[in-house]
């Protein structure tokens, strides 16, 4: 009956998506967890920023020279809350400051101005009072360095102006002006390699991460879909319905794909919020990804989609083959968990390294793992290296056919009913 497969897929998706455990762990958790994590990081970052903005400092000016006075003025010009304290022994000064909210004490010792004007180094003593172990306390302690380096640069500029009255001090300080050009995908780009490296980093982390999430959740869903039939004792009834065993397998694969896709979409939305939250404080780059060639062509999209499709089918079939040997969902999850390594290992390694740069033995191991080729295909997609993509698709497809054949064999025999995994050693 042609509608039978449709009925089976609808049932699979409905039954799993209504399961509170699956709904919570696969869809609601990533949808809520990532934004909450992002919001928490964003909140702590803004707390740090706020803390550094409201930092109050004290200055003890033992030296009364002009440079000491200029230093104090430069602090005030930067709107830094600065309280001048009378010279006193350091222990007494710190004791007094601990009663207040002041976190930094700057001491300008005697001879500061004289040393600098005579070409020696002027000494500043800075005492930071840390009231707790936190990022914001550390940040408060380092705030003082900013006005000091600004004033230091002013002093250097003044010295240069005196020594070379006909030169621009900025040119003396930075005599070389570097202009960056990058040739990428045969195109000349007027951007710095550092900027491109940042974008490459986000791509090389992003795609393997998404692939990892998608494949691992697909495996867990497929394992659940078959083991729940065993746990709830519905499998025997299903297998005696007038529908081919291959259709039952296809229904399970398609139903799991729908649920895994919903889970992956939830993860992506969640991660998007997470990334948006944690990078909200960073200055945005005005670089146009399409302009620098970091976009996917329609053919690359198509091939990448095909790669993901066959990879997901193989992951689902692989998980089903193994979960058949379980008697309940928990056992299935345990049996399938080691499979995650096949996905995590290439994803994690290729996040940081190019496969060609790895030792040959590791390269061989990685090339044998089918899920390596998904990551390779995703990288090749940006380089429009279609030959690599086609090679990856061929390898994953061959692996998928093999696994589907094994899954079909299991479903065609009584193993699907009788198979049990025994932890006990055979005697």
């Amino acid at each position: 009956m042609p509608n039978a497969l449709g009925n089976l897929i609808r049932k699979e998706a409905k039954d799993m998506l209504r399961d509170p455990k699956i709904l919570l762990s696969m869809i609601l958790m990533p949808l809520l967890m990532f934004p909450i994590m992002g919001a928490a990081i964003s909140l702590s970052t803004s707390t740090v920023k706020e803390a550094t903005r409201s930092v109050a400092m004290a200055i003890m000016k033992i030296d009364e020279g002009t440079i000491s006075n200029q230093l104090v003025s430069s602090f005030k010009a930067l709107n830094i809350s600065l309280i001048e304290v009378k010279p006193s022994p350091i222990e007494e000064a710190i004791q007094n400051l601990r009663q207040t909210n002041i976190t930094t004490l700057i001491i300008i010792p005697k001879g500061f101005t004289e040393n600098i004007t005579s070409g020696l180094k002027g000494e500043l003593r800075i005492y930071s009072i840390l009231r707790s172990i936190s990022l914001s306390e550390g940040a408060k302690a380092s705030v003082v360095n900013v006005p000091i380096s600004i004033y230091e640069r002013t002093l250097v500029r003044q010295a240069i102006a005196q020594a070379f009255p006909d030169r621009d001090p900025e040119n003396v300080l930075d005599p070389i002006d570097v202009k960056n050009f990058v040739i990428f995908k045969g195109k000349l780009l007027n951007v710095s390699p550092q900027l491109l490296q940042g974008i490459f980093m986000s791509q090389s982390f992003g795609f393997p991460m998404v692939i990892m999430l998608l494949l691992i959740s697909a495996m867990q869903i497929a394992a659940t879909s078959i083991s729940i039939e065993k746990e709830e004792k519905t499998l025997e009834t299903l297998l005696t319905l007038p529908i081919g065993r291959i259709s039952i397998l296809a229904g399970k694969l398609a139903g799991s794909t729908i649920v895994a896709a919903a889970g992956a979409a939830a993860s992506l939305i969640g991660i998007n919020f997470y990334v948006a939250s944690i990078f909200s404080f960073m200055p945005s780059t005005s670089i146009d990804l399409a302009e620098v060639g970091l976009h996917l062509s329609p053919l690359a999209y198509l091939l990448l989609g095909l790669t993901m499709f066959v990879a997901i089918i193989s992951a689902l079939a692989l998980a089903i083959c193994i979960a058949v040997y379980s008697e309940n969902v928990r056992e299935a999850q345990s049996l399938v968990s080691p499979l995650s390594l096949l996905v995590m290992l290439p994803s994690m390694i290729l996040m940081f390294a190019d496969i060609e740069a790895l030792p040959v033995s590791l390269q061989t191991v990685l090339y044998l793992i089918p899920y390596t080729h998904v990551v390779l295909a995703s990288k090749a997609a940006f380089m429009e290296n279609y030959a690599v993509m086609l090679r990856s698709i061929s390898y994953i497809t061959m692996f998928t056919i093999l696994i589907l054949y094994v899954a079909a064999r299991i479903f065609m025999t009584e193993k699907v009913v009788t198979a049990r995994f025994s932890w006990r050693r055979k005697r």
């Binding site: 509608n3 039978a4 009925n7 039954d15 519905t234 025997e236 009834t237 529908i243 081919g244």
Partner: protein, 243 residues
Amino acid sequence: MEKAIEVINLHKYFGKVKALNGLSFTVDPGEIYGLIGPNGAGKTTALRILATLIRPTSGSARIFGLDVEREANKVRRIIGYLPEEAGAYRNLSGTEYLEFIASFYFRNKREIKDAVYEAEEISGLGERLRDKIKTYSKGMIRRLLVARTLMIKPKLAILDEPTSGIDIIHAYHIRRVIKNYAKDYKVTVLLSSHNMFEVEFLCTRIAFINKGRILVEGSPEEIKTRYGARDLEEAFMEVARSA
């Protein structure tokens, strides 16, 4: 006349364990045939082979002339199987579950609706069919499963402990439904049960089975007379002693 069930010299091994040891019996169309015997006698194994779930190691089994191994797909179209330990999809409502099962047997919505209506009558679950199955008691699930087995009006209903877990009132109702179905729709029934009263009430013929083979076969009356027993329980004990 074509037999509803024809089992010839069936053997089944699970590793070194011999579950069936030359089991043979036949059932005529419209009969209610009962397999009784102690735990591990091979009753469920025999039913699972006939339901196309597992394959015999040797021997043959045919249902209305169809070989359960070679023509399994055709066999599945004419049977309804109720396993001893069975569940239903917890996150579907009773009605959704019945519609799901019916959709494999009927082509149009009218037929599916009629089958679901039939199942409502058999189960007696009424409005509760709209609730999710996870809210059902064990007995309610069993009633739902009996209903889904019979609503499709199979040529052969294979029922493993049909009233297990059902209270007295509903078990009474289910037994009557099975009996009437067999009569009204000429459904052949093969059942296994530990409930001797149930077997005596329902079955036209029974077989005592132990260690994978039949020890005694006949109508309940014949068997009781043969062993001079007041009821089947006594006869069963007698057979077990002399085996």
